[in-house]
Symmetry: D3
Subunit: 177 residues, 6 copies
């Protein structure tokens, strides 16, 4: 299990490439991003539950913590790279190897995220996009420019089934700019 | 809720002061530490459950994600500072303010960690120390020196009730050095 | 005495938290701030003297060099933190411990700054605010945003008894923006 | 052509992932590596020529400057990643797109490097490895640890046909450690 | 020869002082600048050749790679410093010492750049300015301010004999802003 | 006077080149060094006075704060550079320009340091070397290597007239290693 924790430690060192390539000095790491995705998942998940939605918050939290673990091996491939590399396939294989055969249950959780095939998986995807837009705004508030394209994720957020439950939140996010 | 997510974002910017003061260049942030604490909690928690221990993994994960949130307001006060500041009291008040009156349930989770009054709280404390020792080793492996005192946390780990279940893991950690 | 110099060396590592939390990449250290506060004190002090004001420049310079030394133990607590921590009390105790019983005279100098009870103490406070506003402008000139609140220190500067002697300087500072 | 120069500018931002993942703080960029590979190529190339070897130094220099350009799109994939991604294929496609159809001659130069099918291509590969080992030593000399595996490239250097001409140089490199 | 490669490695550590002094966080190194100057030289040189201009591209590439090597000893003296230091003389002497008596041919190449006495030397100077303006724009696009003076190099570019051949490119560069 | 303070602010940005060129990641700035030189001057100066030595501590403090101000224009030229540049002359001219004709008294203070022609000037030189050796030790304690040559300054310290008064301190410093 120690190997797994060491592997996860690499996410602390890996810069989020999208920011780096757009000139953000000292951008966040994958681990920092994952932290806030998980925290957002926590609060949105509990809120959904309070609203009577049938959601497994424990599962959602696990998915959030695991969702970028494959990047410990394949790094955070920027969008540009994904024209040349089958990221989905690479990430899936990396996840299998990192988790090992004895932890196949966690790989299944990861697939729920990747394929958006459970509500919990879709919630984490929602949190992932929300986190990114919020980070874009935070960089812009400090003076960064050239981050327009990241705001495009608002479209994803608005089309999501989850949007109906957090309309005010997403509207507030959009109005920050 | 957006305010809360923005507050949590500050943990990305806050360096872990213990490393910084001992000369680690570009040390990890509080958010990076929290990420791995939560991930360790996930795997140890599930393992305990498999062993038949009655533990609420969802609760443990929430505690892990929240356990350093107060630092968004009070920063990561190094050990030296704690002779001059009542960190426990300050952190508690900061948590109350960050979470707000409507989220008092999360404050109670934080207290379980702080006062080690539930198994879940104690598991996160265990994960917190384990994460720190592992990070010390990782810095040393890359060339850092002067981090001896951090290895002292092994004593805490060995005295914990949780140690019995992860003796091999902790022994492996100790032998890394 | 070597211990004291080592302690002072920590100020090189400590980032000024106000900038850090507002997203300035690689902000100045406490030591860097202190350097310029002392330099400003030098020139303003000598100027006051030339104008016939009865001021002890040697004392003022000592106060400037010592004014943030307590942060070697308590770190640079940001404004937000000061709602949760009695910074004044903590800093005073830290200063006592850092300087040691045999250097109580220097602690008294620090108190003149903290309580603004001598002209020299007030001059350093004036230099401290002036330095901060100038630094805010320098960050803004390089592209930083979100630093409005730091300009509020201009109010302090204008209300100070020292303002009358450096009206042109402060006006020039205000007009930089 | 400006697009091409902007693309090349990305290499300034991309950290060399091998160092980053082993904990080197602020490691070199791909552009910095490429600079020294080209410089080494210059001096080794001219030396070979002086020794009567039939080598086109201009071509070798072009290959050196272009050899990592594909990373502007696919980033510097660490060795670990190459188990999950067909780097060679990805890089080739990226090179084609970056250079564009009208610059197919440069793509052919790149292939000479990649497939080691010309002396010039092999010289750049030799310079690439030499540069990496030298950089490993420089990091170690400054205190870095955990870089053993990079010294394995000495084997490549010694097996190269070019080794015969620079035996003293490579021996000197090996003895640095 | 290894000494020479180690010397060149210092260019990776040296920040380009113009950016640093204007507050760019983590500015490029001299090595990064040199990389792109050489790459630009490659494409402009080949283009000139295609247009029937009599130019030795190999020589131009060598000049580009060597043009800032003297900074390994004298560092990147900012414009301000050049009122106090005879940079030209210092750089020339440093080049002589770095290259050594046995490599006087390379020093002669450097002089062609410095004194702009060959077309190849002038091409590298052209590429050097072009690279700098492009970098200024890239920093500005990411949010940097206060870099106006660097755009002044457009005047140099337009007055150059080489401008006639790359009018479109320079116009495109100018319009980026 | 604001111009002077802005000029002094550049010392915050300028890395101490000796550390940078030896591979210290994120080395101290000139301003950080100056801060501790001034603080050391304060305590050594007061100590000398207590021992009955006739010393003007105010003057010594001013010299300490001003001693590297010329580097705002000429940067921190490393030892290697000083074979190619007349640093002393350049620094003196830069100081004259920075201070301006109306502040010639401060230039005279600087000369007392440079030419070691007053006790106060020699004290600052002593503090300057002491600070550097202490910093070398601090970097080494954190894992840095390759800093041997900096310890050579102990010779200067031991030959100084001031050594007799601080023998214990310097011995303690030497034994740190």
């Amino acid at each position: 299990m120690l190997d797994l924790f060491i592997e996860a430690g690499k996410l602390k060192k890996l810069p989020r490439m999208g920011w780096l390539l757009r000139g953000v000095a000292n951008p966040e790491s994958v681990a920092e991003h994952t932290f806030r995705v998980a925290l957002i998942t926590l609060f949105l998940g509990d809120e959904l539950k309070k609203k009577g939605i049938d959601i497994n918050v424990e599962k959602a939290l696990k998915i959030a913590l695991l969702h970028d673990l494959g990047e410990a091996r394949i790094t955070d491939l920027p969008l540009e790279a994904q024209n040349y590399v089958d990221k989905k396939k690479a990430e899936r294989k990396a996840m299998v190897d990192i988790l090992g055969a004895e932890r196949v249950e966690y790989f299944r959780l990861f697939q729920e995220y990747e394929d958006e095939k459970s509500l919990e998986g879709r919630l984490v995807k929602f949190a992932d996009k929300l986190e990114m837009v919020l980070q874009a705004w935070e960089y812009e508030k400090s003076g960064a420019k050239g981050l327009d394209e990241f705001w495009g994720a608002l479209d994803y957020l608005k089309k999501s089934e989850i949007y109906a439950h957090f309309k005010d939140l997403i509207d507030e996010l959009e109005k920050l700019r």
